[in-house]
Symmetry: C2
Subunit: 565 residues, 2 copies
């Protein structure tokens, strides 16, 4: 591509409203332009990158045996009623009325549509297994769209849905998709990690997320040094605690006039924070619950919501706390409640002896508290806390934390959707069987932003080669319009094209400074400068985007740097 | 592709609700599945065809120098207010409210969005000309979606928008796009015609439509045998009439007790229908208007709406007719109206003498009517009638009619959008200039249906090769599972793939009848049958989709039929 025939519009200013580096650089390079909150136009430059990602995803999905389809963006309410998600999906579902007052939504995902397709198309086990995918535009009406295409409302997604006669076959395809995802992110040149995940609103049995590792990532991930265990902090578990020690202290009341936090109480008493217990009051389906975690731990909301009766819990209000515990917040504890309460203890707390809790009386805590002796054993013992860096992992290693950007997600949905929508096939015995389903998503447009978060410097983007808008930039310095220089450039451009290299010729006639700045900003991996001096010396000035400096190289050496042998 | 690893689901039944052959065949082949009125899922088979069309369109747009972008489907109301189209676009505009009560629409077209993009990106004439295009999903809330993807609500479109400093440069790009469209439809193997068109709701100065010719086409097209003149009947003109003959008859009243139509009056009087004049009463911006066309002609609504004061006319009601003409419908005419009326005469009517019109009195007509003598000359003389087959064309040839399906449309928009939205650049003198714009659309998904309307027989679709889901089908007849047959098939499949041929191997193990029926239904251009008998004879059974019968051919001859040299 000759740049004079393209449209490039870069800017030196960092946009004020862009908080993260990928958003800033996508605006500065002109890759995207905002049309409305969370809604962007992809410029020619941005689209080149998006299409490269799309192509890799498509090739690997095809290679993995998935079959491409294209489903509509507009979906009828009736289908979503069948799975009960019309009401349950929440505010992200953009609801629409057409001119005949029919109710539709702009699809945020396509489980209902593909299951409807499958129940109409598939009649026999002989047609299975099948994995349908599409690369298609989705809309989620985010309450706070931000970070450019990282959390946009309209976005491009690859979503795949597989259908199986048995759970075992679903598990096989799930592994097949995980392997395909690994190939996709590897081919794209990204540092990534597959981690165990919560399956969230989509529901289902097993799921894993694929994260691009980046400091700016919204998700916290936990790894173990002892194995390849990796999980989203939403679900990550540390090793189970050891057995509970015997009680050694007697129960006593401690004056804590202004000490309302575990940290303050521990400091006042001169004991480790690990000896205190934090009491968190919530309201679940069956009423008031006191959740207990160690003073240095925090309640993991996703884990707590998995405790029976707490599926949709909320924090208790001050009046509810007063009614049940007889105390103001800051001095809460499981002993001496006004009304009978349900106690859910983290398994670490259940293994503690001689601990400190609030006395349910303003200005006091209790110390030397022991289960069984001073209060009944907890109603529920469960892992309800988030892991911390340095925790011991179940495999004996140490827990480390990192941050990631979720770019892929694989789920074993099981029969949830197929059962709700009556998607059945006849098995070998002619018996009707509900199909098992998997679903597999990749945020195609988000990958573009995630890749930048992982690959940039102070001069701009440093694209991994497979995602770069062009692999090679030819920059010409020829103020005298020297014919020999022009000839070398034309030949170089033609030779690279003939070698199948995606090459950009910056023929805009800019001075070297702004020209180089643009090529670095937009992140072209290889730059070749053709100048009068170089032509006379028979060399090209070559520079890799990540290199410290340029080198004068022969044509052969340039070819070799480009991997052209 | 091995068919056992694909998903094909054909049907013998013709769907009851599909009125036209392309809709029937797209459902029978399983190319599309209906999700809601005018909203379809593209199955793996259908998507293969759609992507082939898309690829040809993209290649030719790129070759013509257009640059691909991707604009959002969801567009904010504010932009549409700038061009006054939020209200004016009508019911096809699907309006949406997001969770924050912001007003948006699902883009039916992208003039506003691209003009907003251009006014932000383009500052100088040096950046021009530019032609941005996208291949993107649009939604038009058709009041009566029908004919499958032919008139769907959600559909795939290629839309391009060009920007220019001058009208001349716009005209140059307009010709460039016409040439690109001609290459696109030629490459796709379609019989098509470019015709002059009305520019309709998009507005603007010059426009042409590209039609795939098919008997089932919704549009009537007029051609001249005298030149390459071609136009949509909406705008097609016949030659202007000769001079008006002198009056020869006297005005007289004729008894026409029950004769209300020109045909009935002409029959009663024993005169040619061409001697009568039809009076059509309408209400325009300035009130009551009587439009006159010759008895054998019909009023062309689009032409009539171009007469000053009739931009948004409607038929007059009986009460309005009685009030102005003093008569019931069936006996209307321009003489003796009760109130002063405006008369708009077709230019053919203005050139008539001694004609017959209604008398504005139930049961009577007037004969021997002459302009200037019996009534004033018409207030307006204009071409307001539709052409008929056999009319003399302006070039001296004869008008012929055909039917077409509109698949492309090119417009010179001029400054309409750029002016409304303030899209300017600085010219060489540093003066701000409103840009000139062109827009160029292709109905990508509609092309698939249009191609079928033009290419089918009683066995199914006969794809033009460039659009076929696969070029070649290999069918295997091997009930004994003969190893030699299997080896020949494997080799043939591998050789064709190595030759770059898009080949489908029907390895489902069906009997020949259903297998051949499927391959014919889905329209694969070349079929190669491998059977035990053929393998023994060293031949393949080859059949072109359009051929009467199969032939036993050597490998070399098959290769030659496939154009593989």
């Amino acid at each position: 591509m000759r740049l004079s025939r393209f449209h490039l519009s870069t800017s030196k200013e960092t946009p004020a409203d862009a908080e993260i580096v990928s958003h800033q650089l996508m605006l500065r390079t002109g890759m995207i332009r905002k049309l409305a909150a969370g809604i962007y136009t992809w410029s020619p430059l941005g689209l080149r990158v998006l299409r490269k990602v799309e192509a890799v995803v498509r090739e690997e999905m095809n290679a993995a045996g998935a079959i491409e389809v294209l489903m509509p963006s507009i979906q009828p309410q009736e289908l979503w009623e069948e799975t009960d998600r019309w009401a349950k999906f929440g505010g992200q579902l953009l609801k629409i009325r057409d001119r005949k007052d029919g109710a539709f939504c702009y699809g945020p995902t396509h489980e209902e549509v593909i299951t409807d397709f499958a129940r109409n198309e598939l009649k026999s086990y002989k047609q299975l297994p099948l994995n349908f995918y599409q690369i298609q535009t989705k809309f989620r009406d985010e309450i706070r769209p931000r970070f450019g295409v990282m959390r946009a409302r309209e976005f491009l997604m690859k979503d795949a849905y597989s259908f199986h006669l048995s759970e075992d076959d679903l598990a096989r395809e799930y592994e097949n998709m995980k392997a395909a995802y690994t190939r996709i992110f590897t081919r794209l040149g990204l540092a990534f990690r597959a981690v165990q995940a919560d399956s969230g609103a989509i529901g289902g049995d097993a799921s894993q997320e694929f994260h691009v590792l980046a400091e700016s990532g919204e998700d916290a991930l936990a790894f173990s040094t002892g194995s390849d265990y990796a999980a989203n902090v939403e679900t990550a578990q540390a090793a189970a605690p050891g057995p509970r020690p015997a009680a050694a202290e007697t129960l006593r009341k401690v004056d804590t006039p202004t000490q309302k936090t575990c940290e303050e109480v521990a400091a006042l008493m001169g004991i480790p924070l690990q000896r205190t217990v934090k009491s968190v009051a919530v309201i679940g389906e069956d009423g008031f619950v006191l959740a207990l975690v160690r003073g240095d731990h925090s309640v993991n909301e996703i884990k707590l919501a998995k405790v029976a009766g707490l599926t949709e819990y909320r924090p208790a209000g001050e009046a509810e706390i007063l009614e049940h515990l007889g105390s103001e917040p800051g001095f809460l504890g499981p002993l001496g409640a006004k009304k009978p309460i349900r106690v859910v203890a983290d398994r670490e707390v259940a293994a503690m002896a001689d601990f400190v809790v609030g006395a349910n009386e303003a200005g006091y805590h209790l110390a030397g508290v022991n289960w069984g002796r001073d209060l009944a054993e907890p109603d529920v013992v469960a892992d309800i806390r988030s892991v911390l860096a340095g925790d011991r992992a179940a495999d004996g290693g140490e827990i480390k934390l990192a941050r990631g950007i979720e770019v892929g997600h694989v789920f074993q949905l099981g029969q949830k959707y197929a059962k709700a929508m009556g998607a059945t096939v006849l098995d070998e015995q002619g018996k009707s069987q509900v199909m098992h389903m998997g679903c597999y998503g990749i945020g195609v447009s988000r990958i573009v932003a995630a890749a930048i978060e992982q690959n940039f410097d102070d001069r701009g983007i440093c694209w991994p080669e497979p995602m770069a808008p062009w692999r090679v930039a030819i920059c010409v310095i020829n103020p005298k319009n020297d014919a020999a220089v022009n000839q070398v450039v034309e030949q170089l451009y033609a030779d690279l094209q003939a070698a199948g290299v995606d090459v950009l010729w910056d023929d805009r006639g800019l001075r070297p400074g702004p020209m180089f700045a643009d090529m670095e900003l937009i992140g072209i991996p290889h730059r070749i400068v053709v100048s009068e001096r170089g032509v006379q010396a028979g060399t090209f000035e070559y520079r890799s985007r990540r290199a410290e400096a340029a080198e004068a190289l022969s044509r052969e050496d340039v070819w070799q740097r480009l991997g052209l042998g």
